[in-house]
């Protein structure tokens, strides 16, 4: 073998060996491990009210029918998600005791003079069952607004209207911040 031929042969051997090493390295660097995911989607209940106070700036002492608050309805947004296994979701309105007038202690505005109507179809997902229109509020107790059954998922967007019917109530200004809207899900 001539020197030139020998050099070419060596070069060819080196190239082949390099390819073998590269292939071997590539095979060694390829490794796979399987993995999985575990996602536990739990129940959820969040409620947001578009305002903080219903106002009746001028209502007569005696009204023959329910008068809607000047800024009613408000919008309820949030999320309800209930368990498939016997879960339930509820939104209720909790009221304080009867409201005393700011001018005269003896002036009283009964909580049962107020009534709510929850309504609307802009929720995304499971639609709720709404309480009957003009459901009367109860002092120091809660009344229903909307409810969901098991396996529900609902992104909320519905109206919460509050009404007032005066029945020979004394003229006065009545204020209270003791109401709350409560969402629960199981």
């Amino acid at each position: 073998m001539k020197p030139l031929q020998r050099a070419a042969f060596h070069a060819l051997l080196a190239a082949a060996f390099g390819t073998f090493i590269a292939e071997d390295n590539a095979a060694a660097a390829t490794n796979a491990k399987g993995f999985g995911v575990s996602v536990n989607v739990t129940t959820a209940a969040t409620v947001i009210l578009s305002g903080t106070r219903f106002t009746w700036n001028a209502i007569r002492p005696s009204t023959t029918s329910y008068v809607k608050a000047d800024n009613s309805p408000m919008t309820i947004t949030g999320l309800i998600r209930t368990s498939r296994a016997g879960g339930a979701g509820n939104i209720v309105v909790m009221s304080p005791g009867n409201i005393t007038g700011t001018n005269k202690v003896n002036d009283q505005l009964g909580i049962s003079n107020f009534a709510l109507t929850c309504s609307g179809s802009l929720n995304t997902g499971t639609q709720p069952s709404y309480a009957a229109a003009y459901t009367k509020l109860k002092p120091n107790a809660s009344v229903p607004c909307a409810s969901w059954g098991a396996g529900s998922t609902s992104k909320l967007n519905f109206n919460f209207a509050l009404y007032l019917q005066t029945q020979n109530n004394p003229t006065d200004v009545y204020k209270s911040n003791g109401f709350s809207i409560i969402a629960t899900a199981t």
């Binding site: 903080t52 509050l162 204020k175 109401f179 899900a185």
Partner: protein, 47 residues
């Protein structure tokens, strides 16, 4: 620990675990709001 005591401890632990489980799977949210009512015989009134 006697077997009866051990059983009681296990039962109490299980009850606590169940209560915790039930608790963590219930969700709740609250928003407070108020009312302002001006009962008046006049036609207009300011809040």
């Amino acid at each position: 620990m006697k077997p009866l005591q051990r059983a009681a401890v296990l039962a109490a632990t299980a009850a606590a675990a169940l209560a915790f489980f039930a608790h963590t799977h219930a969700a709740a949210s609250t928003r407070a709001f108020g009312v302002y009512v001006n009962v008046t015989t006049s036609a207009t009134a300011a809040p």
